[in-house]
């Protein structure tokens, strides 16, 4: 991802800042300039809102054939997560064996390195999700 675009997305990638429509109350993540339901009515009424980072796995897939920047992490889990506030997003799930991931698993956002622009480029950081600690997870595989 190009540096300027990543820089603009820092608030949402670091701190899960979404938008709430001041007209109908719909929450969007990533943030939007206009509410998809209200259209023009929402212009100027979109408010920033920080999301909790707590959510539930709605669906997931295990990725074996990863892009080169994810080579060191494969196989890894990519999931659609519904946040407590209702917004949905896609994220990698970490700190769990792919076989232990379940639909309905409670997850929370953590801060990780997402990628880099080659060996000399900027490092990109943002959210990934991990299972909420202490929810009957299988004991540490040793």
């Amino acid at each position: 991802m190009a540096t300027p675009r990543f820089w603009r997305e820092i608030p949402s990638r670091y701190n899960l800042i979404g938008t709430k429509c001041g007209s109908c109350g719909t929450l969007d993540f990533p943030p939007r300039a206009v509410c998809p339901k209200c259209g023009r009515k929402s212009v100027g009424k979109m408010m920033k809102q920080k999301l909790s980072g707590i959510g539930t796995i709605i669906s997931y897939t295990i990725v074996y054939d990863a892009p080169s920047s994810f080579d060191l992490l494969k196989p890894y889990v990519l999931a659609v997560i519904e946040l407590k506030e209702g917004a949905r997003l896609t994220s990698q799930i970490i700190n769990v064996e792919p076989g232990d991931v379940k639909i309905g698993m409670r997850v929370e956002a953590v801060f990780r390195k997402l990628g880099q622009e080659g060996e000399a480029g900027i490092l990109q950081y943002g959210y990934k999700f991990k299972p909420v600690t202490g929810q009957g997870k299988s004991p540490a595989t040793a």
Partner: protein, 348 residues
């Protein structure tokens, strides 16, 4: 008016490797090596973890325990010898990720393993002079030893953050002193992947001389004796040095044990003494007095005399260091080498 600790938080990566597993690869008795270092395992960062992510996680863990507005934090200093960028501060990412920007100051500190304690002192000065309301001092590292080097058995990853201020203190910092000389015991030149060290030279004239001198200075200043403290924590490059220095000064093992994280997670460099302090604060009760001495090669020591207040009971419940380190996953050397970039990948 004294400055002190308003909150604290630590972070230790989930992965571990044992000295035995490292020794198997290099044809040495890793178990014996582990015993001589006093280390049963060391933490290993995942490929998507570095000093920036560890510092952010520690800073967030610190803020989860209190109701402090991030914008009231006027300074963030991150001490490390493994900052991901040679030029571009770790501290700016931490500041953005906890919501402290933009009206604040930030910088990265570097003094081998004691950059985090140097950051505490800088934050104390800024709060005591009323330049800022709160300051955050972070010490974190993902240090590496060259493959096959003795350092590879202990160099690990982790970090901790302390919120420093003058109000709502969970622990008052009664005194702090430092002891600094030009001593070439351990170094890394710009552009070098792994550090160099002076072998046996790293012990007596470096670690022991500076830690002992600084500890004695602190007790002179505080007019205190080892038995006045409930806990003591020393920089811990391995499990042996801090115990030796503690016993020589007159501390008993029961004062040292709570802060000896090195035994189960290895040497977290700039994170070591701060994570030890976090582990102590996790179990401390009002009135407990803590003796802390950091050490950084090159060389210097910072020492702190700390008293826990009744506010420690008001902290919001959060995961303790012990709970965090319980969820460990052990790696084989191949996976470890892959995680730590010790293999040259196609296209590198």
């Amino acid at each position: 008016m004294v400055a002190g600790i308003v909150s604290y938080g630590g972070y230790v990566p989930r992965y571990r490797i044992t000295p035995k597993e490292i020794g198997n690869v290099w044809g040495v008795d890793g178990e014996a090596m582990g015993r001589s270092l006093g280390i049963t395992a060391k933490s290993v960062p995942s490929p998507d973890e570095d000093v920036i992510t560890i510092s952010v996680e520690a800073a967030r863990a610190c803020l989860r325990k209190v109701d402090v507005a991030p914008t009231d934090i006027g300074a963030i200093y991150v001490g490390s010898e493994s900052h991901p960028y040679a030029v571009k501060p770790t501290a700016t990412v931490v500041a953005e990720a906890i919501g402290s920007t933009p009206v604040m100051t930030a910088a990265d500190f570097e003094f081998a393993c004691k950059a985090g304690t140097a950051a505490i002192q800088a934050c104390m000065g800024l709060t005591l002079s009323d330049m800022i309301k709160y300051g955050m001092a972070v010490g974190s590292d993902t240090s590496q030893g060259a493959p096959g080097d003795a350092l590879e058995f202990s160099a690990s990853a982790g970090g901790a953050a302390l919120l420093i201020g003058k109000e709502n203190l969970i622990a008052e910092i009664n005194h702090t002193v430092s002891y600094t000389t030009d001593t070439p015991d351990f170094w890394r030149r710009e552009g070098q992947q792994y550090p160099s060290h002076g072998g046996r030279f790293t012990g007596e004239p470096a670690y022991f001389k500076h830690v002992m001198s600084c500890a004695k200075l602190l007790m002179e200043k505080a007019k205190s004796k080892p038995e006045d403290y409930n806990y003591a924590v020393f920089h811990q490059p391995n499990g042996k040095f801090p115990v030796k220095v503690g016993r020589t000064l007159g501390f008993e093992d029961k004062q040292l044990d709570a802060g000896m994280l090195v035994r189960s997670i290895g040497n977290t460099y700039s994170g070591a003494v701060l994570l030890g302090l976090c582990s102590i604060l996790d179990r401390a009760v009002p009135g407990d007095r803590i003796f802390m001495v950091g050490y950084g090669s090159g060389a210097g020591s910072d020492a702190f005399d700390i008293t826990v207040t009744s506010n420690i009971k008001k902290l919001k419940h959060a995961e303790t260091i012990e709970e965090m380190t319980r969820d460990a996953k052990f790696l084989d050397y191949g996976t470890y080498a892959k995680f730590r970039g010790k293999l040259r990948m196609r296209g590198d």
